[in-house]
Each structure stands twice: as C-alpha cells, then as structure tokens.
C-alpha cells in the first residue's frame, strides 16, 4: 500500500435553509491521512462530525455533498456504489459516533452486538470462542464485571461504558481507518489512558489510520501526531500535535486561552471574540 490512506480535497457539505437556499456547513476541507493519528479540533458546529460522516458515507440523504477528491486507500468514494460503501463500513472503515449509545442497537444486548461484530470478521469462529473474545475485548477497555455488562442493553450503560463498548466493537474489527468522534469524552482520566493505548496500538502495530475528533486540546496534543483546527466549516490551521501550544492562528490561540486549569484563577474565563476575517481563512 503506497500513497495516503485518505485523501480529501475541497469537501463541501450543505443543507437547505427554510427559504430553499443552501447553507454550507463544510466549506472546502482538504487533508490527507497516512497511517497516523490525526486530531481534529474546533468550534462546536464547525463541521468536524460532518467531515467524518462524509468520509464514511453516512450523511442524511438530503445533505448536498461534493468533493474534488474523496478517496480511501485509492478507492474513489465519490463514484463508489452504495454496496461497496456499505461493505467498507462493515469492514475496513469504522466510526465511533459522538452519541455512542444511540449508534448501538437499542433492543439487543451488548454481548450479542460485540459477538456479531467479531463473527463478521471471522465467520468460522465458534460461538463460544466469539463470546470469549467479546469478554476479553470488554476487559481490555477496563469494563468492570464484563460478564454482567454483556447482558446489559444500551440504555443500561453509563455514558463512559457506552463509549467503551463502541470502542471495543471497533477494535475487534481491526479496521484500516477509524474515525473516532469524541470517543473518550465521558471517560475518567485513568480509564481513558488505557483506552487510548489500545487505539494507539492499532495504529502502530496494525498500521491503522486514526481520525480523532475531540475538543480536548491537551489530550489531542499529547496523543495525536498532527492536528487540524476547524472553524466555521474550514480548516484554519494544521499543526504538529506537539506544537499545538505554539499555534499561530488567533482562533487556535483563543481556544488555548479559554481552558480552565486545576490551580488556575477563579475569575471569569477568557472567551473568544470571533473575528469575521476567520470565516475566510485559507482552507
């Protein structure tokens, strides 16, 4: 496999306004991804999730999407058949959605769902073996009492358990590309560290590409290789993750200034004054 895993050029996604005109939610996003951890940070509503969904092919059908290039491992996704895209989603591409509990099947217990995911990957596996692997995958994401949790339905999971079940289901499939949308926002720091190391291992050991959408700037700068900063549907800046704190764009700098810290001041937090010129920033 040569060339980047993902290539996106001039991606646009628009929705209709009430008056029939189109409103661009993603406005010309371009980036490529290798077998690395790419973070996407940025304002709420800036198009991070839509970018991930476009790549996976799970936008609502009333959305208008266009791109000069949208490729996954050389496959042109703009012309790929719905059947091919479905099979990619079931196998080589995976996404952990921002509302994990709502992407699980509400009427099937967690264990059945993980076992199903395992058996799609390896149809020859015995039921008992698949079950054993499912329990192991829950242990790996630090679920206490995995046997009990196997029998729970999604609405019986805590927020962070829902996220970890989704992560376990993705990890057992070992996809080539994983888009993780706020995958650890509900995890305490110690569990989070363990879960991140599992994802990291998939990248380093299996050469998976990871798109990691998060609003946690410190986490992204520690965990990812590169970071894209989005604002109002565009990329305003791309940085090496370790240099995030030396960001140049005033929006990124503003973001860093808004963070509370454990021993910081108790005065009102600085907030951003959004500048109209940021809307036109180079993408």
């Amino acid at each position: 496999m040569t060339g980047p895993l993902v290539e996106i050029e001039n991606l646009r996604v628009a929705f209709r306004n009430d008056d029939g005109s189109w409103n661009d939610a993603v406005r010309g996003v371009s980036f490529s991804l290798g077998r690395e951890k790419l973070g996407i940070v940025g304002e709420s509503g800036s198009g991070k999730s839509l970018t991930g969904r476009s790549l996976l092919g799970v936008l609502p059908d009333y959305a208008r999407i266009s791109a000069d290039r949208l490729r996954f491992d050389g496959i042109d996704l703009t012309t790929a058949s719905p059947k091919l895209r479905r099979s990619l989603r079931g196998g080589r591409m995976g996404m952990i959605l921002q509302d994990p509990k709502y992407s699980l099947n509400p009427v099937m217990n967690v264990g059945k769902q993980i076992i199903e995911a395992i058996r799609i990957g390896d149809r020859k596996l015995s039921g008992a073996e698949a079950r054993r692997q499912a329990v192991t995958s829950l242990e790996a994401v630090q679920i206490r009492d995995p046997e009990r949790v196997m029998g729970l339905y999604p609405h019986e999971l805590s927020g962070g358990m829902g996220q970890r079940v989704m992560i376990a289901m993705m990890v057992v499939r070992e996809p080539d590309l994983l888009i993780a949308d706020e995958p650890t926002s509900a995890l305490d720091v110690t569990v989070r560290t363990q879960v991140l190391s599992i994802m990291d291992e998939l990248v380093t050991r299996r050469g998976m590409g990871l798109i990691f959408i998060s609003h946690d700037l410190n986490l992204v700068s520690k965990f990812c290789d590169r970071v894209i900063v989005m604002y109002a549907g565009r990329i305003v800046e791309t940085l090496d993750a370790k240099n995030l704190h030396a960001a140049q764009h005033p929006y990124t700098r503003g973001l860093l200034a808004c963070l509370p810290s454990i021993d910081g001041s108790l005065e009102p937090l600085p907030t951003l004054t959004r500048d109209a010129s940021w809307l036109e920033a180079a993408s």
Binding site: F15, D18, V41, G42, E43, S44, G45, S46, S49, P60, Q98, D99, K101, Y102, I143, R144, D145, R148, E156, S158, G159, G160, M161, G162, R164, E182, S185, A186, L187, D188, V189, T190, V191, R192, T193, H215, L217, G254, L255, C258, L259, P260, S261, I262, D263, G264, L266, P268, L269, P270, T271, L272
Partner: protein
C-alpha cells in the same frame, strides 16, 4: 439545600450506588468525579425521581424525594443529562422542547422566554425551528441547558455539562453558570471527568469509585493535591 444519606441503588443484582452520603448547602457548588461507571449519573437521576428502587434518604429543599411528586421536584431541581441526544425528543423542534416545561407549569410568555434562553446559550432564536438531528453535539448540549433553565429552578444537577463542547463554548457556559449561580443564588451538583472544570466550578467534591465514595475534598485540597486516597492521587496525576 440537598441532603443525601446512605443512598443505595441496585439494578438486578448489581449495586450501582453503595451507601453514599453528602450534603450541599444553599448556593454551594458540589462536584462528583471518579471512575466511569461508578454511579455518578445514577445519583443525579435518583435525586430527580428517575429511579424507583433505592434506599436511604434524599431531601431536596426540604422535600423528601421519596414522597414528593416528580412535578414539584422538577420546579426546584432540574437535571442536564449526560447524553443530550437522548434527552431531547427527536420529533419536536428545539423551540417546542424549551417551551414545553414552561407551558406545563403555566409560566408567562413561553415564546419570548424561549428566544431569550436561546440567546443566552449562544445559539440565537433562529435555532428554535430546528430538530435535534440538525444540530451538532455541542449545540444539542446547549439546548439541554436552556431547557433546564426554563423553569428557573433553584438547583441544577449537571451531568457532564460541557464534555461535548469545544473549549470556547465551554468557557462561555461555565461563565454563564457561575453568573446565574451568583445572581440567582442557585445550588449546583456537577459531574465531570475534567478536574480542571471541577476545580474551577466547585467548592467541594466527592471522588467515587466502584459505587462508593472514595473521599470528599475541598477545592483547596484539590488544588494543593492534598488527598488521602491512592485513587484520587492517580486521577490527579493523570490530569
């Protein structure tokens, strides 16, 4: 304002909350932190009457949570849920959902106040005709906060109120919450995994693990890493 005594919550054989006690004074902000799955959301849900099977005692502004009607509790204490998607009805517009509690409780000018609340959370009145699926995760979370504020409750129970928000909106929401607390004398219980948020927002906090209290700390102790328990120390070290 809030007394929780020996609260125990069980779900078919497993114990989600095990003899937990704490009190929160009028106007105070109390944090709950700890392991994922340790029972934090369950405590809040039980306080607003969303769990049937529990033992112990819960008193909210003088009302016994066991015998008070949920509607009366709701006027005093409102909860912002951890997953905003699940707490919003998919088929009603944002405006309808913010106005609904006001209509039920006969509050004057629900339409005007809905627009006001949408401004307050930084979305603007134009969002009132949208449906939840047309919003980003952070936008939905802000709608949930607006709806909780609509009845002007005296207590807000906030479950990960900003974990779905980018940090600039988080800063705006935290400032807003602090201002409301000061101006309206609100009492908060805040669940968060972000110790920086807890340290910024709360005067005291309880650390939980495996359904139990680990220890309760003051903000000063948190800031000075003055903790007794190894688990709390781990949490701090990883933050």
């Amino acid at each position: 304002m809030i007394t929780v005594e020996n609260l125990t919550v069980r779900f078919s054989g497993s114990t989600a909350v095990d003899t937990v006690s704490f009190t929160v004074a009028q106007g105070e902000s109390f944090g709950l932190v700890g392991e994922s799955g340790s029972g934090k959301s369950t405590i809040l849900r039980t306080m607003v009457g969303l769990n049937r099977h529990w033992s112990g005692r819960i008193i909210i502004n003088g009302m016994d949570a066991r015998t008070t009607r949920q509607r009366d509790l709701a006027r005093t204490a409102q909860m912002v849920f951890q997953d905003p998607y699940g707490s919003l009805h998919p088929r009603y517009t944002i405006g309808q959902q913010i106005a609904e509690p006001m209509l039920i409780n006969g509050i004057a000018d629900p339409v005007g106040r809905t627009a006001e609340l949408l401004d307050l959370i930084g979305l603007g009145a134009k969002f009132q005709f949208r449906f939840p699926h047309e919003l980003s995760g952070g936008q939905r979370q802000r709608v949930a906060i607006a709806r909780a504020l609509s009845l002007s409750p005296r207590i807000l129970l906030l479950d990960e109120p900003t974990s779905a928000l980018d940090v600039s909106i988080q800063a705006e929401i935290l400032n807003l919450l602090n201002r409301l607390r000061r101006e309206l004398g609100l009492t908060f219980v805040i669940v968060s995994h972000d110790l920086a948020v807890i340290s910024y927002m709360c005067e005291r906090l309880m650390v939980m693990r495996n359904a139990r209290e680990v220890e309760t700390l003051t903000r000063e102790q948190l800031r000075a890493s003055d903790v007794r328990d190894d688990y709390s120390r781990q949490l701090l070290a990883a933050s």
